[in-house]
């Protein structure tokens, strides 16, 4: 069901792009990733808007008063919360729902790239069965041209220079850097240094780039290319929405003192 309705159409769109753009799988991955990002952009914008509304709510004096007033009456607090959402025109689902819709799309995008990078017999057999014969011609399409720049997109990437005895994993390094920059750029400034959410977010920002770098180092370079374009597209999307926080990545730029002075309890419900 998942395969038939989601992944297979994705594969066909990806291969259709490959077919019309000079049979270059690298360009196909880049364009397909950008296309999916473009299609899901409204969802992303909605998610960011919803998340921001939730963040503002936590800072809102009116909401703090409501919390204080009904701290011993959970039921009444819930009712007041709903009324607050209604009055502000927001909802907790405003940020969750777009994320939930985006997540399977991103997984399907990832799976379609994997399936299309078929480099072994069983993978090619499975791929050939998933191609819509009315849209694409299997005999012309297979084998896919997996060469892109210096890379074979079906193999882990290494750049071999004549004066070095080992290959440099350029893509893995770039994936680590862009993952780190993206996560730092979109991290909201915390009002409280002891904020647990911010601490967790910091830990993720530290581990995630290395995790993605490890995947880029060991998996097919077509996937690394997808990770890289995803990161760059993410940064661009956030900056388009005005949500990029350059202070987080530029060394020496400190957060405003006023923001740090907010009380810790402002995050607690």
């Amino acid at each position: 069901m998942w395969d038939t309705l989601i992944v297979t159409p994705f594969i066909n769109v990806l291969l259709f792009i490959y077919d019309i753009f000079w049979n270059n799988f690298g360009i196909a991955i880049i364009l397909f990733t950008l296309l999916i990002r473009l299609v899901t952009h409204p969802l992303m914008a909605k998610q960011i808007k919803g998340a921001q509304a939730m963040q503002e709510m936590q800072q809102d004096e009116e909401w703090k008063k409501i919390q204080e007033k009904y701290k011993n009456d959970k039921e009444k607090l819930a009712q007041e919360q709903m009324a607050y959402y209604k009055a502000k025109g927001t909802s907790p689902f405003a940020s969750c729902l777009p994320t939930l819709i985006q997540f399977p799309i991103i997984i399907a995008l990832y799976q379609s790239v994997i399936a299309s990078l078929a480099a072994t017999p069983v993978e090619v057999l499975n791929l050939s069965r998933r191609i819509y014969p009315t849209l694409l011609d299997v005999s012309k399409l297979i084998p896919l041209n997996s060469k892109f720049l210096w890379m074979d997109l079906g193999q882990p990437e290494r750049l071999h220079l004549p004066f070095l005895s080992f290959g440099i994993p350029v893509l893995a390094i770039v994936v680590v850097i862009t993952t780190y920059i993206q996560s730092k750029l979109i991290q909201p400034q915390s009002s409280n240094p002891k904020d647990q959410t911010a601490m967790m977010s910091n830990m993720m920002n530290l581990y995630m780039p290395f995790f993605m770098g490890y995947l880029a180092l060991t998996l097919a370079s077509g996937l690394s290319l997808y990770f890289l374009i995803s990161n760059l597209a993410g940064i661009f999307q956030y900056s388009l929405l005005g949500k990029v926080n350059w202070r987080n990545v530029i060394p020496g730029r400190k957060q405003p003192v006023a923001a740090k002075a907010l009380p810790a309890k402002s995050k607690k419900k």
Partner: protein
């Protein structure tokens, strides 16, 4: 904070599972490569090469004894004198002692996977690689020559009378000089060629991913006839006594006249027909993708059929009077049958 750590660990595990499950496992990327001689069966599957006794399926040795990282083997080992020649999915080609399984040498000149088996002929080892090259090595592992095709090479070449016949994923069939690797002719056949050709005295027969079985003249590469099907082909045509046998995605088996490609008879197997059919003294055995094994006589009459657990992406291999079957995703990796369809020894399940 402690709870957050657990959440973080959980998130990482979930992400790892999602990403790794999407990337596909090595074990399912191909099927067991099988070969053998008069007393031994050799099977390349996943992380090892196995040497099994032909009489009872008992294990002689396995290589490597200890699994080495992501190293995997699927190409059928080639045999010459007392040595085996086989490549892995990590770009290395090995010579092993056939009796002990000890490594003689390794060749690391390729840059991609060895998917197809090697062929040995006139003291030369011909090893096709997915890096587009056919490597010709001497028995000591030294490179004699290499030939570059336009795309990956997945099938073992054939050699005869100083000529190598090589099918490629690049849609071409090549004839090369055995001594030098120089191209004699090439023939564009319109679709990727996954399996090796079959040949008789004058002709080569190949199946392409353009849903065609094509007969080609061995001397100049000219196409003699084409049989266009409506269904895909994941099959190697096999020639025997003037008849060419193959099957298609829909599960239909064909016997066609080697002279002109006219259909002599057909038979419905009922599931995708995989790989090369095996020729027995009294008939032909076909494998179906979902585990069906079907034996027909040369006139298309049913001799017997069996069903095994798992997927069959290649036909059985005849090793000294037995049919050796390589299975994927089943309860066993190797099963052996006699020509009457009875299992000759217990299914082989590799120990972890």
């Amino acid at each position: 904070m402690k709870n957050n750590k657990y959440i973080l660990i959980f998130l990482f595990i979930a992400l790892t599972m999602v990403l790794s499950s999407c990337s596909g496992s090595m074990a399912a990327s191909s099927w067991p490569g099988i070969s053998g001689n008069d007393d031994t069966v050799f099977a390349a599957y996943a992380s090892r090469i196995f040497s099994l006794r032909l009489k009872d399926g008992g294990l002689n040795w396995r290589y490597p004894e200890k699994v080495e990282g992501a190293k995997t083997f699927f190409a059928p080992p080639a045999i010459m004198d007392n040595n085996l020649y086989v490549g892995d999915y990590k770009n290395t080609f090995y010579s092993l002692n056939m009796i002990t399984g000890a490594k003689n040498w390794e060749f690391t000149g390729a840059t991609n996977r060895y998917i197809g088996g090697a062929t040995v002929f006139d003291n030369l080892i011909l090893a096709p690689n997915a890096d587009h090259y056919l490597y010709a090595l001497d028995p000591n592992g030294n490179l004699v020559w290499k030939f570059e095709a336009r795309q990956a090479l997945w099938a073992a070449p054939l050699a005869e009378n100083g000529v190598v016949y090589l099918s490629s994923m690049d849609h071409y069939l090549y004839a090369l000089d055995l001594k030098t690797g120089t191209k004699i002719w090439e023939s564009e056949l319109g679709g990727a060629i996954v399996y090796s050709p079959s040949m008789n005295e004058t002709r080569l027969f190949v199946a392409t991913m353009n849903n065609e079985v094509v007969a080609v003249n061995k001397s100049d590469g000219k196409v003699l006839w084409r049989n266009q099907g409506n269904e895909g082909l994941w099959s190697q045509p096999v020639i025997h006594d003037g008849k060419v046998f193959y099957g298609d995605f829909s599960g239909k088996i064909y016997a066609v006249n080697a002279e002109d490609g006219s259909v002599l008879w057909d038979y419905i197997l009922g599931e995708m027909v995989s790989g090369a059919p095996a020729i027995m003294p009294n008939g032909v055995v076909f494998a179906g993708e979902n585990g069906k094994l079907l034996a027909l006589d040369f006139d298309g009459n049913l001799l017997w059929n069996r069903v095994v657990d798992g997927k069959l992406y290649t036909g059985p291999v005849v090793v000294d009077g037995q049919l050796i079957l390589g299975i994927v995703q089943g309860d066993a990796v190797i099963r052996a049958f006699n020509f009457e369809g009875s299992e000759t020894w217990p299914p082989f399940i590799p120990a972890k």
